[in-house]
């Protein structure tokens, strides 16, 4: 019997943000994704389902992460927020076109 087994382990890290993602908290997220990028992670899911507020500083962290992951053939997916105002912010800025959206 000639069997070839090939196993590929694909690592995706999910980060759930359940508090405000803003100019105060964005540096914490940035530090966490930097740590994961340094560890070789290039595929992320950012779960915004329960994020109540997001400003441009939070969005800047997401854009930076997306650019860095795509440079390494990775990707960043966003879980669509429940909060309608946050949804509208993502729509206004076309993040819903730039990022792959889950759970919309």
């Amino acid at each position: 019997m000639n069997i070839t087994v090939a196993e590929q382990v694909h690592r995706t890290v999910t980060i759930s943000i359940k508090e405000r993602l803003d100019v105060v908290t964005a540096p914490q997220l940035k530090a966490e994704v930097e740590r994961l990028l340094d560890a070789g992670v290039v595929d992320f899911v950012i779960d915004l389902a329960d994020t109540p507020f997001m400003d441009s500083a939070g969005m800047a962290v997401l854009v930076t992460l997306l650019r860095r992951c795509r440079m390494k053939n990775g990707n960043v997916k966003l879980v669509w927020p429940h909060a309608e105002p946050v949804q509208r912010t993502l729509t206004l800025t076309r993040f819903d076109h730039v990022f792959e959206i889950l759970g919309r």
Binding site: D22, D55, L92, H97
Partner: protein, 153 residues
């Protein structure tokens, strides 16, 4: 263009104090009878003002320990909330040089002013000898019509 209610606060240039803006905007809008999409309108005003204040703290004052004033006016005819900020920061905003970002390739910087302009009906900047003056205006939707009474007379 009468003012219904007015409030002035002085904010320190501390980013973690900006969360307080939400309660102030909510209290101002509580003076207006029920109107459509109140939650979204309130959120949008808070977010636009938040972005403005972040710009004042990070750019106009470049992180220096200072303070600036925020004047809230709830006005009628048409019903609207008008917010004026006055800071004495040294750096001026380059209003003429500002361009709408390319949203197909979102920038890392510059989304704050874009959001302000999208979320508010009027965004006015005025550079003054003493600092910067910004005005944000949001027209409030007309109150939802009352359902006709089914009580017989």
């Amino acid at each position: 263009m009468a003012t219904i209610v007015s409030k002035t606060i002085v904010l320190p240039t501390e980013l973690d104090r900006l969360v307080e803006l939400e309660q102030i905007v909510e209290a101002m809008l509580a003076h207006v009878p029920e109107f459509p999409e109140r939650e979204i309108v309130q959120y949008n005003v808070v977010l636009a003002l938040h972005e403005l204040c972040v710009n004042i703290i990070k750019h106009a004052y470049a992180g220096q320990k200072e303070q600036f004033s925020v004047v809230f006016d709830l006005m009628c005819d048409p019903t609207r909330i008008q917010i004026d900020t006055y800071d004495s920061g040294r750096k001026r905003f380059d209003a003429a040089g500002w361009q709408t970002p390319n949203l197909d390739d979102p920038p890392i910087h510059g989304l704050g002013v874009f959001l302000m302009r999208q979320l508010m009906d009027e965004v006015v900047y005025e550079g003054m000898p003493t600092g910067n003056h910004w005005r944000l205006v949001k027209l409030l939707p007309e109150p939802a019509p009352e359902a006709p009474s089914t009580d017989s007379v």
